[in-house]
Amino acid sequence: MRRVADREGTLAWLFLMPSVVYILALVGVPFILAVGFALSDVTSGDPSFDFVGLRNFDAIFDDPVFWRSLSNTFLFTGVSMFFIVIFGKVLANILIADFKGKWVVRFLVLLPWTTPVTLGAISWLWLLDSIFSPVDWVLREVGLLGEQNSLLGAQSNMYWLGEPGLAMGSVIAVHVWRLTPLAAVIMMAGLVAIPRDLEEAARVDGAGYWRRMFEVTIPLTLPVIAVSALFGAIFTFTDMAVVDVLTNGGPNNATQVLTSWAFFRGIDGGDVGQGAAVALFLFPLLLAAAIAILRAVRRLEVR
């Protein structure tokens, strides 16, 4: 009996080792390297490694663009997560209901998430074009834009990606559009997981729609919503694809986020040390979010 247990132990390690080695080599090592870069003066022109302490951090903290990017990152994450959770919940409730043509609706609803993000964002880039935007065309047709006393102004276009406030709004809207289907799928999983008999029991006990909603559905799905919200927040926090395609951080850094700024500094600008410092600045925030996720998951397990 003991031999079997021993062999299981060996087998467990044999099965785990490839994944562990792979992850240690290609996540663990680069992570340590990133810390090293952040404390050094490595640039793409001069790859020699000289320790400079916290000088890179001093330099980025002195840079107003960094603070701009930081507050943009929080704004971008906070506002888009708010809408993603609400729309995701509504969408999940729709997708879970039984109706004819469900398959087609689901197919269309999934499109934003399954399309590679750069391609989806390019569709939007054309949709929000500064001259040929069909949104502007509709606004002009209904008289909200382009005439002397129009509600949105006399200019012929909105410049969705050219005005700082509008640009941020557009970037957030596109990100919400793209992530809502994923949020819906995850929340759907949560709704499906509610034991049917529990709802039935509440119905038999005479609980109305709203009471069932607040006393059965919401408490039972809350952990899943919390987990998906935190997953989404981390994803949003570190995502730059939408920003990169739509505005490239502009106009005048109005939509610059930490990740795009790190990319701009580290790859385009060649200052690897500063880029790494900007990127590393994210980590404590992510770790805090990770702890929050794990606590939420534990609550799920307790259930």
Binding site: I94, L108, V185, L258
Partner: protein, 277 residues
């Protein structure tokens, strides 16, 4: 009352579908437009003011190496999926079934790896890629992408593996299979829905990855769709709009179709992973 609730549901469903799919509809119309039609702000952008043309779709395949990008995305995706399954399936089995006392702790550690984002690693990873001599080579993506997909896949597969009744592998071992044989012949076939979910999930993650692909690979013959299309069809300030939109539609439809086919299985896997993991 029931009728109105029904009508409301349909209205919401149609509204949601429209909101999600509208940009693609717009892409579809744009893709077939002539330049003289497209670049006239007075034209109604939703109809064809001049006859439709397929010139820009032909351009996409003949001049812009779209075929190369699609092919690169496909083979990178397939190889990444194979590597991901080969590594994560045994790892998930070890964590779900082999009753090690540290399994729970290990699962959490893997969960944490998922939270380390590409944006934190791409600078040092591009150094590692250079050191390995893989810069500007699509193989660098084959090497690096599994670091994104393996943690998620382990997490997903644990859920599916826990749903397989223990009796089945015990029976297989009574029948004379070794533990390894029982895993391969009895457990793996029963985990098939989970494997399918991992295939779909890993492939879509890979196809849409952007940061690594942008920082590791610059020659156009080595690019994948997510970086090749935006960089090759945008020349300075000149956007090849119709070809860009055509590329979006050509890629989006098949991916969403496949994803939808497996959605139910995916949802099942995700729930189990999150609740019991």
């Amino acid at each position: 009352m029931a009728f109105w609730r029904r009508a409301g549901l349909y209205l919401l469903a149609i509204g949601a579908a429209f909101f999600c799919a509208a940009p693609f509809l717009w892409s579809l119309i744009t893709a077939f437009k002539q330049n003289r039609d497209l670049y006239n702000p007075a034209n109604n952008p939703f109809v064809f003011n001049r006859p439709a043309t397929s010139d820009h779709i032909i351009y996409l395949f003949t001049k812009a190496a779209f075929g190369t990008f699609a092919w690169n995305t496909l083979w990178v995706g397939i190889l990444v999926v194979v590597i991901t399954l080969a590594l994560s399936l045994p790892a998930a089995y070890a964590l779900a079934r082999l009753d090690r006392p540290w399994a729970g702790w290990f699962g959490i550690a893997i969960f944490l790896v998922y939270l380390v984002p590409p944006s934190l690693l791409f600078l040092s990873l591009s150094r590692i890629v250079v050191a390995l001599g893989l810069q500007d080579n699509t193989w660098s993506l084959v090497l690096i992408y599994p670091t994104i997909t393996i943690p998620v896949s382990i997490w997903l597969l644990i859920g599916f593996l826990k749903a397989v009744p223990r009796d089945i592998e015990e029976q297989a071992m009574v029948d004379g299979y070794s533990r390894l044989g029982a895993f391969w012949r009895a457990v793996v076939p029963l985990t098939f829905p989970g494997i399918v979910a991992v295939i779909v999930f890993a492939f879509t993650l890979t196809a849409s990855e952007f940061i690594y692909a942008l920082s590791f690979v610059s020659p156009s013959t080595e690019k994948v769709i997510s970086t090749g299309v935006p960089t090759e069809l945008v020349r300075g300030d000149v956007f090849f709009w119709q070809s860009l939109q055509a590329a979006t539609v050509i890629v989006a439809l098949p991916l969403a179709l496949v994803f939808n086919l497996f959605l139910d299985k995916f949802v099942a896997g995700f729930t189990q992973g999150a609740v019991k993991g």
